[in-house]
Symmetry: C3
Subunit: 311 residues, 3 copies
């Protein structure tokens, strides 16, 4: 593994190894003594953090991951304005220059689809795609899978409800595809007709033999679910009659929770606005903050996997 570009580049074995390493780093993080051991692992390594678009979770968790591994982090949170991009430099030239600076990983979020792959094509240094336009956000997909694995010890034989803006949600699309590579999963998509999961993903599931259904009935969907993966339904985009119904139907609150089994977990890529009511936060099934925190340990595992190959 040199670059991290797409969610589907990881096979099941690689995911299992990353998950094991993430658990290890989480345990090491509980006490300052073991933290200091982790700190020695990659001291002297440098991560460049180039964000052409705003980000809190991805940027912070990657930079903290690097720091916890002993790396130094140099970067910009506003590459669009404060880098040579503003002077017309191509992403390739920017990456070629960074390659000359003796760095060990370049974590980047770009505005345009495919920029991470273009960067990787000219880079000897590991490129980590922290989201390129609407195309890919592979580290999010892996942390989502890790969150499920953490609860159930498996990624197969699960009933997964995905709700909200399925048409545009990069994270639900990736997770659906990843889960379809495991056996016996069943996915229930909940959305308005306009924002339902797109045909290319459904075809992918068909090809892999993963069963699914599409509905707008939360009650029925939640009954028997193992995982609920919720995203924001941008209702302000809708002006039709279904809206009034929609506002309620796509909000998880105490009344919705009644239908959900005790063993289930509720996930969300965050930020949430009001599609999950604050009253849900204290429910033990609500794991969305924990899920964000998993991003730290999964990203430590990924950086570690890349760095330990280097001279």
């Amino acid at each position: 593994m040199r670059h991290i570009l797409r969610a589907d580049q990881f096979d099941h074995d690689e995911l299992a190894r990353l998950f094991g390493r993430a658990i290890f780093f989480m345990e090491q993080d509980q006490h300052i003594k073991t933290r200091r051991n982790t700190l020695k692992l990659h001291q002297g390594r440098i991560m460049v953090s180039m964000f052409y678009e705003p980000s809190t979770r991805t940027r912070f968790s990657f930079e903290i991951a690097a720091a916890k591994l002993g790396m130094a982090v140099i970067g910009t949170e506003n590459a669009a304005e404060f880098s040579s991009a503003a002077k017309g430099e191509t992403i390739e030239d920017t990456v070629r220059v960074l390659n000359e600076y003796g760095v060990d990983a370049i974590c980047m979020r770009t505005k345009e689809d495919g920029h991470a792959a273009r960067a990787a094509a000219v880079s000897n240094v590991a490129i980590i795609n922290g989201g390129d336009g609407k195309a890919e956000h592979p580290t999010q997909a892996v942390l989502d899978a890790y969150t499920i694995y953490q609860k159930f010890g498996r990624l197969d034989t699960l009933q997964v409800v995905m709700g909200g803006d399925l048409a545009h949600g990069r994270t639900v699309r990736s997770l659906a595809k990843l889960l379809s590579t495991y056996k016996n999963n069943h996915i229930i998509f909940i959305s308005t007709p306009e924002l339902q999961m797109s045909a290319d993903v459904l075809k992918y599931l068909d090809k892999n033999g993963t069963t699914y259904e599409q509905t707008d009935d939360i009650e029925k969907a939640f009954t028997g679910a193992d995982v609920v993966y919720w995203t924001r339904l941008q209702l302000e985009r809708h002006s039709d009659a279904k809206l009034a119904h929609g506002t309620q139907a796509f909000t998880i609150d105490k009344s919705t929770l009644r239908y959900l089994p005790k063993k289930a977990i509720i996930m969300h890529p965050l930020p949430r606005v009001n599609e999950i009511a604050a009253e849900v936060d204290k429910d033990p099934r609500a794991v969305y903050f924990k899920q964000a925190g998993n991003g730290l340990y999964v990203r430590m595992a990924m950086l570690d996997a890349i760095l330990k190959e280097l001279p």
Copy 2:
């Protein structure tokens, strides 16, 4: 002490302990060998620095303080634009996520009053208020007190002149209240009638038995003063006849200095524009740059106090 939220949360004993520790850190900072010892104190710890409003002194001194204690610092100088706040995330959700990232302190400056307290209410990680709107800026109040203590060895029995925009100045308000908790201080407030110290602070002084007077006569006020705490009088806000008089009256220059005792100190929270003439900078009584520098060591002492309680 978990969080640092308000200036009045520190009692006299705690302030004395912080001051002692600040002196220690200042001494350690003079040579690279002792600096390296300091560096070992909190290696492996992480500070998040979230600034929703511009800042040089507070942000830089906190980040340098953290670095000198061996911590790694991750953050944003433009959280308003480059964090999930821009997508409508509440301060509570942002803090909950940061809590999951294995960090040890969150230093934040926010635009709105009370944001630091709201953050602290949901945070297991120490919240340090680096200024929340017009409400509180506790670390500034402590470094101001430390600067007086450094010169006089006490915070009681002092004659303190406070001048400039007393109505809106967060730092003078905090310092006046803090000094009124010590015995035998006398405060002279110098300002235009419109910008005099507000009634709530005067009541606070009355309650604590601290004497004070209000005047616009610099000459009389400076005679016998131990401390002059000067702030910017935003004269551009005034259009009345007093303005011409005011411009001169509220500028400290060589001619004003004649009235000030030799033992006195001149403080200013900075940045200053022209309310203190450049010619004053070389006067040994001018301690405002030293005062800013004290911010570093006081903040190191505060971070150290928080961190040494952690597992």
Copy 3:
């Protein structure tokens, strides 16, 4: 050497020492074990990075240089907006405050000519000029010279072609002056008449006895060249008849390369837009990315020279 302010402050001996040290740091950077030795050199030191104007190469390479020497870096990439400058603070006051924060070097890029010298005039801490307006960019001049030295083992007896916008290019002006302090160099300036090298630099060359010629004939200029230093000719500024000719004449591509000797090198301060065609990148004579990378090691050498004098 306390401050780094102007390209002409370095004499030949100092440059030779810096080059030697740069080579050392480049070698140390090849393996993690030797990197970790470098890391110990200046642990406990702090660099402040204050950029009032956007920069990728200068800021990143200085910050990475500092990190590789074990320093912590604190700073802002947007000082114009996020520092007290926005509140009307002078550069002198900003620097006086930073002096109180126990830091060891202040690297700054400013918008206005002479700001670095003004900062240095009030600073006990080393000021490093990372470019002040159109005036000076001394670390770029040194890394350019180092790139030539790296190839030829000397800075004298060279035939150097400088092309593009010579009138406004800060880097070509500095390099021409620096090379004229060495013997037997011959410089060929290629540009349109409006953008030719300005009279003050030509006078400087005359005074030092450095021969030169001015032409727009690339073919003739490239024949026999040791070094080609190319910059962007901002053709959009020109509306005259020469433009059509100019567009071709000032682009280096495969056809232009035919005239260039095998031993020559092609340099460019970057970012390039299209004045060097992408097809040139793979030519072994194209060293512009390597040249950027040299900035890292030259800046490490400079920081090291400054820091090792400190208590």
